[in-house]
Symmetry: C2
Amino acid sequence: MIAKTPNPPYYAVIFTNTKIEEDKGYSKMAQKMVELASKEDGFLGIESARDSIGISVSYWKDLESIANWKKNIEHLEAQKLGRELWYKSYKTRIAKVERDYEF
Amino acid sequence: MIAKTPNPPYYAVIFTNTKIEEDKGYSKMAQKMVELASKEDGFLGIESARDSIGISVSYWKDLESIANWKKNIEHLEAQKLGRELWYKSYKTRIAKVERDYEF
């Protein structure tokens, strides 16, 4: 689903990754993290797709809401498992959305 | 492939879309657009993934390079075909990458 975000400005966290082939609990955790993130103050939406790489873009009201989500205790545990178990590589980019247009 | 971008700041164009099921020339055009974009001044890289939605994030040096690419004549034709033929919906967001970290 394309996220229904408000008018800019707002923030995007672009998380790109390559993953091991086995699931090892990843899918369940990924779903849980989407549910948890959705309850955070300042969460505006998320878009995800995966084929040879995975891209998840989550949208946030401001940098404070991103910082709060980053240090959520269950999210910290998921990040640790991601580094140790699921991801072969990843890159996270924090970006301020200045303009958008749709169709 | 995760794009090897320089240190921030730089810009991201987050293009999220839903597509018709038939190809109708889309794959060939998509590949051609990646090749063309790669030759543009200020192009820094691109990441794409598709399952139920497609997400392509292209990275650019500045807003000027994004504006130049948007009005590239072959890209304009592709955008027109996208609106008329391939995409059921899409959203484009222009965002300034302020920070990144990797693993």
